[in-house]
Amino acid sequence: MLTESDVRAALRLTLDSAAPDAWDPDFDFLDGALDSLDHATFLLNLEEVHGLKVPEEDVVSLKSIRAVLEYAERAAADEGT
C-alpha cells in the first residue's frame, strides 16, 4: 500500500529537493510547485516504483499528497473487488 512517506519521497526525487517534506497533505502542488513535466515525472515514479497506474483522464486530479493517497486507496480497492 502506498504511504504518505512514499509519496513525499517521489516528490523529493522529482524536484531534487526536500521541500515536499514540509508540505501539508492538502497543499495543491500543481499551483506553482510542480509544472506539468515535473508532475508527469512524479506519476511515472509512482507507477514504476509502486505500481500505481494513472489513466490520463485522472492525471489532473492528483494535485495533493492526500489526493494521491486516496486515489491509490481506491485503485487498490477496485483491484481487490
Binding site: D35, S36, L37, A40, T41, L44, E56, V59
Partner: protein
C-alpha cells in the same frame, strides 16, 4: 551483412527567421524560466509563410552540392522524409525537389511519411534501397516544416516546433559513419497523441508524449546496444531526437548517461526528423568513434541504430 553505404556528411538548412520565445512567453502567460529549463528553447526557427518543404530541402541539398563537388552528377536517389509536403501531397515532394534541382531522369525519388523517428527509419530505407539496386550515391533528406499546421493560440506547440531541413549524404565505400543493426517500433494505439486535426491544426498530448519518451526510448536504446553487441561504455555519445530539453535530460538520466546525451536545439526548436542530422551537421560528433541514435514521436513510432566511424575506404 553490414552495408558499405556510409554517411559521409550531414548538411543543414535552418531558415533565418526566429520566434523569440522569451518575448512570446508573456503573450502566452508562460514562465520564461520554464521555457529555458524545461523545453530548453529560447527561440524556434520559422520559415517564410510562402516557403515549402521542397524549398527548405532544396536549400540544404544545394549546400551539400557546394560542399561536395561532383556529388550532383553521382546522386541516383532522393529519399525525402516529411509529413508536411508541398501542396496536398500529390505529387510527392521529392519529385518537386528533383525538378527544382534539375537532376537527371535516372534518379529514384520518393517520400516517406514519418515524423520524429523518420531520419533513423530513412537511413535504413535509403541504405537498403542503395544496396538492393546497386546505387553508389544517395541523399536522405528531412524537411518537415510544422509552422503551417501550428495553432497560433496553442502555446504547447507554438513554443516548441521549429522549421529546418537537413540532407544526409550517403556514399558506398567512402569514409564515414556506418550503421549497425536497427531496431524499430510502433504503438498505433496512441496515434492521437500527436496529430493534425480536421482543421489542419497540430494537436499534441504533451503528457502522453513525455511518458512514452521516458519509458520507451531508454528501453529501445538499451535493446539496440545489446543487438549490436555493445554496451553504453562503448559509445561516445547518445543522439536522441531533440523533443525538448526535459525529455532529452530525462532519457539521459534513465540511461545512466546524462553526460553523453546532449541537448543542443535551444535556438532552433524541435525540428522533427531533422533534429538528429542537425546535431551531426554541427560538428559535435566529429571526434567520436561510435554513437547511438534514436528518433521517436509521431505514430507513436521509434527507431534506433548504432553508427560507427569508418576512416578508410573499405
Amino acid at each position: 551483412m553490414t552495408s558499405r553505404v556510409r554517411i559521409v556528411d550531414c548538411v543543414a538548412h535552418v531558415p533565418a527567421g526566429r520566434l523569440d520565445l522569451l518575448e512570446m512567453a508573456e503573450r502566452f502567460d508562460t514562465d520564461a524560466k520554464f521555457l529555458r529549463q524545461k523545453t530548453g528553447y529560447t527561440a524556434v526557427a520559422r520559415m517564410d509563410a510562402s516557403e515549402t518543404a521542397s524549398g527548405l530541402a532544396e536549400a540544404a541539398v544545394r549546400r551539400a552540392f557546394e560542399a561536395h563537388p561532383g556529388l550532383v552528377g553521382r546522386v541516383k536517389l532522393l529519399v525525402l522524409i516529411t509529413q508536411n509536403p508541398d501542396g496536398y501531397g500529390l505529387p510527392h515532394a521529392s519529385a518537386i525537389l528533383h525538378g527544382r534541382l534539375g537532376l537527371g531522369d535516372d534518379v529514384a525519388a520518393f517520400d516517406v511519411s514519418l515524423g520524429c523517428s523518420g531520419w533513423v527509419y530513412g537511413l535504413s530505407i535509403a541504405t537498403s534501397f542503395m544496396d538492393a539496386n546497386h546505387i553508389d550515391s544517395g541523399l536522405l533528406i528531412t524537411a518537415d516544416p510544422y509552422s503551417p499546421v501550428l495553432d497560433p493560440d496553442d502555446r504547447n506547440t507554438q513554443l516548441l516546433f521549429g522549421d529546418a531541413a537537413a540532407v544526409t549524404v550517403l556514399e558506398r565505400g567512402a569514409p564515414g559513419w556506418s550503421a549497425g543493426r536497427f531496431l524499430f517500433g510502433t504503438d498505433g494505439t496512441a496515434w492521437r497523441s500527436l496529430m493534425v486535426d480536421e482543421e489542419r491544426r497540430l494537436r499534441m498530448n504533451g503528457h502522453g508524449i513525455f511518458v512514452f519518451s521516458a519509458k520507451r526510448v531508454p528501453a529501445c536504446i538499451a535493446e539496440t546496444l545489446s543487438a549490436n553487441g555493445i554496451a553504453m561504455v562503448d559509445v561516445d555519445r547518445v543522439l536522441v531526437h531533440q523533443g525538448s530539453r526535459y525529455i532529452v535530460e530525462t532519457i539521459g538520466k534513465r540511461l545512466g548517461a546524462p553526460d553523453k546525451t546532449p541537448f543542443v536545439a535551444n535556438d532552433v526548436g524541435n525540428t522533427v526528423s531533422s533534429s538528429i542530422p542537425l546535431i551531426l551537421s554541427s560538428g559535435l560528433c566529429d571526434g567520436d568513434g561510435r554513437i547511438v541514435v534514436c528518433g521517436f514521436g509521431v505514430g507513436l513510432s521509434w527507431a534506433a541504430t548504432v553508427l560507427t566511424r569508418i576512416d578508410d575506404q573499405q
